[in-house]
């Protein structure tokens, strides 16, 4: 899921892959509050998992966010 998130961020916000690390926050990556909402929409569309903008903002870093999304993926 971390790799998936990394790819989403690189694709949508043109953040260089080299700059994206598990310990980076969304703010570190240059995402503003509307970008965060966009990311939530992309996550929902591509993983089926719904996260609120508050949850995205409150996630400590990208690694934690990946864990949050993973934990919500419905078992198949």
């Amino acid at each position: 899921m971390y790799e998936q998130l990394k790819e989403m961020i690189e694709r949508k916000f043109q953040v260089p892959l080299a700059d994206i690390e598990p310990t980076a926050t969304l703010e570190d990556l240059g995402l503003d509050s509307l970008d965060v909402v966009e990311l939530a929409l992309i996550i929902e569309k591509e993983t089926g998992v719904r996260v609120t903008d508050d949850e995205l903002v409150e996630a400590a870093d990208l690694g934690s966010l990946a864990n949050l999304v993973m934990s919500r993926i419905a078992p198949v």
Binding site: L34, E38, D53
Partner: protein
């Protein structure tokens, strides 16, 4: 074009609503981002990057929605070459009074006392809702010509201390005239897709002043008398719903995204428009925009943009247009039409009257 006697069009003329005139009016006072930054904790850079807005028009004290509506309505009638219509429909979030509706007064001021007149209340979706309403009136044979106006004095309901809304919403008015015609004519209104979700009614609201609060006798704070919006959540719903209803409107009209020459989204925020344009895969250069100089004018947004773009030659006869909006309620709507050969009239007192279409 000579005046037509009301009701004389008859079944032979066709009962489809066709756009035959367009007008827009902005109050003369301009407020820039720097003006706002003088008293709000914000900056030109922040406002521009978050919303795309650089300046907006605001009414002077004493001017209200009915005034803007009458100006835009008069220009639209002139554009259509008409002095009479059978109905005046006014889409607004900021009526002159909670009661009565503002449309009858606007009709009277346009020399149209006696015609059907009502307000449409769907916040930023108001113009699309009003279009469905006016088109329906014509289709049912209850009117041959409708003046449809979107007008707002939004600055009058904004909390001046709330930087999240004070920098966004602004004043203005746009109008179109609809006449009965055939579905194949340029200007014929395609299927209107409308929707709502009242479970999210508190995302965009003015809490105080209506029957709910009065009946409950709840104490209301000063802020409750102002417009409030939960921006992040609204952004999310807006992107999803505008995308979805745009697709449905195209489908119902038998069109594909490739058929869209001009995408005219409600000018809420440049980021929402860009997000939707990208999701729909409409080429960016086909999306019209004027939010940088007029801000978010709610129900006036779409007709204002249509008239300005037509007057500037960016919207031309034959262009297939997709309009789409999302607003409080929640509400949303989309529709398609081909722009007709008309001269749209816009007036900005500083720049003077301009009209062009080719």
């Amino acid at each position: 074009m000579t005046d037509v006697i009301p009701g004389s069009a008859g079944p032979a003329a066709g009962r489809h609503a066709v756009i035959c005139g367009a007008g827009a009016w902005l109050p003369p006072r301009v407020v820039t981002n720097d003006d706002l930054a003088r008293y709000l904790d914000t900056s030109d850079e922040w406002i521009t990057s978050m919303t795309g807005i650089r300046s907006r028009h605001v009414v002077n004290p004493g001017m209200a929605t009915g005034d803007l509506a009458a100006e835009a309505g008069a220009l639209a009638l002139k554009s259509a070459g008409l002095t009479e219509v059978d109905a005046v429909v006014l889409a607004t979030t900021t009526p002159d009074h909670l009661c009565p509706a503002t449309a009858p007064d606007v009709a009277a001021r346009l020399g149209l006392a006696g015609v059907a007149a009502w307000d449409v209340s769907a916040v930023c979706s108001g113009f699309v809702y009003g279009l469905a309403s006016g088109a329906g009136l014509i289709a049912s044979g209850n009117a041959d010509r409708v003046l449809l106006i979107g007008a707002e004095a939004f600055s009058t309901i904004i909390n001046p201390d709330d930087r999240s809304t004070a920098v966004i919403f602004a004043d203005g008015a746009g109008a179109v005239v609809l006449r009965a015609g055939s579905a194949q004519e340029p200007g014929a209104i395609g299927p209107c897709v409308l929707g709502s979700d009242g479970t999210h009614r508190d995302l965009i609201c003015i809490p105080a002043g209506g029957a709910r609060h009065r009946s409950a006798g709840t104490a209301m704070g000063e802020a409750d008398h102002y417009f409030q919006m939960r921006g992040g959540e609204v952004y999310r719903h807006a992107v999803e719903q505008i995308t979805a209803c745009s697709r449905r409107a195209l489908e119902r009209a038998g069109l594909t995204v490739a058929d869209v020459d001009r995408f005219v989204p409600h000018q809420a925020n440049i980021r929402i428009a860009a997000s939707v344009t990208e999701r729909l895969e409409i080429p960016k250069d086909r999306q019209l925009s004027n939010i940088d100089t007029v801000g978010n004018t709610a129900a006036a947004s779409i007709p204002l943009l249509l008239a300005q773009a037509a007057a500037a030659g960016e919207l031309r006869a034959g262009h297939r247009v997709l309009i789409a909006a999302f607003g409080g309620g929640l509400t949303w709507g989309a529709a398609t039409f081909t722009w007709p050969q008309i001269t749209a009239l816009t007036a900005h007192p500083a720049a003077g009257l301009s009209g062009a279409s080719r």
